[in-house]
Symmetry: C2
Subunit: 282 residues, 2 copies
């Protein structure tokens, strides 16, 4: 008898989930990759895209025989999903997610998932301003960092780590709270900033948009449901960091207002030095 | 007797001036392109880079026989330069600049340049976070918009327009005040925003920098002297627009603070729509 195929079920097949399906299929052609679609509309779309081996509309059936269950949903939908799938998961299954804030998700996983499965909190540091499974790319996770927030290196954690590494990601371990503190500055705040800037554009400016504005507005195409959840689930950090950011902007405004060219040059030169550090590192 | 070569003198051979020298030489191999270097150090650097036909350290000599004089300097240095070169320019010479704010420059040109030369205010909407002549690229101006702020389409304006078009730029005419009002939002504000954000990065965050942060920090490498001058020379507009931007950021903070998910999604969806407009246009 053949050994049974590894079954992976992805719940939430958008850009991230769809790209994971493509990357897994490319690396492990034998895996059986199932996508869950709640509505008839998304069922038809996913079947048409042909990025999955099978599309299932019954959530219980979708997860009950899965070796891996991947939750690629907005943060609060991940949390809600733990409760919905808890009763169907098979013993020994590994559940992991791709959520962009960690403290609430990792806490909810402990609370709602049964003891006979393993949970591994994952946050791949990639994405795209193009939302939707139709933009899936099999190389989305290549040469990217994937953060894992599990406290202990259990067998399940090692399996998931190895999975990401085989897809070309570099795995870095970090605590849930450390994750949310740092990602607030390096990811969540840039989105808040980009949204605040792009909101100012009027139609008659469109023919004058230079490369600088394009760089800053690129992530303004990011999906609203996903980002509302990220902000609300990392509230304390993002409120503190956005306050610091606004203080910097006010400082620059004051230097401009008071014609303080020397301090203005100083401020920008310090920023130039920080930029060089970032550039060297990447 | 051969007709004399067209002579172009570039004052301020950094990334913008150096790239213009390369683009001109590529398109018009017969032009004689002179660069002005004030210090011995920049003279040696420019001679070593071999992007000019000749490097001149005497400002009077550099401009006195030039058909075109190009000022590729920070805004207030352009204004100071008008007074320094005024007495040396030959009758019929065309002076143009690449300044990023226009009202003060265009006013100063009228005041300080002699009546026997023509001035054409130009602002090419391109650049790079890599400052310095060593990063010059002959294709920097290709497929880019160049704004011209001259009020009347004089013979000189048409000559300069044609020059930019032959280098691959699309020329758009706009008033000096319209320029400063629009560029404040689409270029000057993004720099203030990027500087305020990059200033928050600490060394221990470096291994977690995702593509989103990189996009927003890219222009944080822009030269301090240039940007201090831009902010100070477009003070009224940038102070007004940065205030509007901060109001948007504060609005988002309030929605996060009060857990107003519906309005948060609403705000981001409106931004998504503006982003789509930008993306379609570019």
């Amino acid at each position: 008898m053949d050994s049974p195929k590894t079954k992976i079920t992805i719940i939430g097949v958008g850009l991230m989930g769809g790209s994971l399906a493509l990357a897994l299929k490319d690396k492990f052609p034998d895996y059986h990759i199932i996508g869950y679609a709640r509505s008839k509309k998304s069922y038809d779309k996913l079947v048409g895209l042909k990025i999955l081996d099978f599309v299932e509309r019954d959530l219980g059936k979708a997860v009950s025989s899965a070796d891996f269950v991947v939750l690629a949903l907005p943060v609060f939908s991940i949390i809600a999903c733990f409760r919905q799938i808890a009763g169907f998961l098979k013993p020994g299954a590994i559940v992991f997610d791709l959520g962009s804030s960690r403290v609430l998700i990792d806490r909810a996983a402990k609370k709602y998932l049964p003891g006979h499965v393993e949970f591994v909190g994952c946050h791949p540091l990639c994405g795209s301003e193009k939302a939707g499974a139709q933009f899936s790319r099999k190389d989305l996770y290549q040469k990217m960092v994937c953060l894992i927030t599990s406290e202990n290196k259990t067998a399940g954690v090692k399996v998931v780590q190895s999975l990401w590494e085989q897809l070309g990601s570099k795995v870095v371990f970090i605590s849930s709270s450390g994750h949310d503190r740092i990602l607030s500055i390096v990811s969540h705040l840039p989105h808040l900033v980009s949204f605040s800037l792009t909101a100012l554009v009027a139609e008659d400016y469109l023919e004058f948009i230079p490369p600088s504005f394009k760089s800053l507005s690129r992530i303004s195409g990011s999906p609203a449901q996903v980002w509302a959840d990220i902000f609300l689930s990392n509230k304390k950090n993002i409120l503190r960091d956005s306050k610091k950011f606004i203080a910097n902007a006010e400082k620059l405004r004051k230097l401009i207002k008071t014609n303080n060219r020397r301090q203005l040059v100083n401020f920008i030169e310090q920023v130039n030095a920080k930029y060089s550090m970032i550039e060297k590192k990447s």
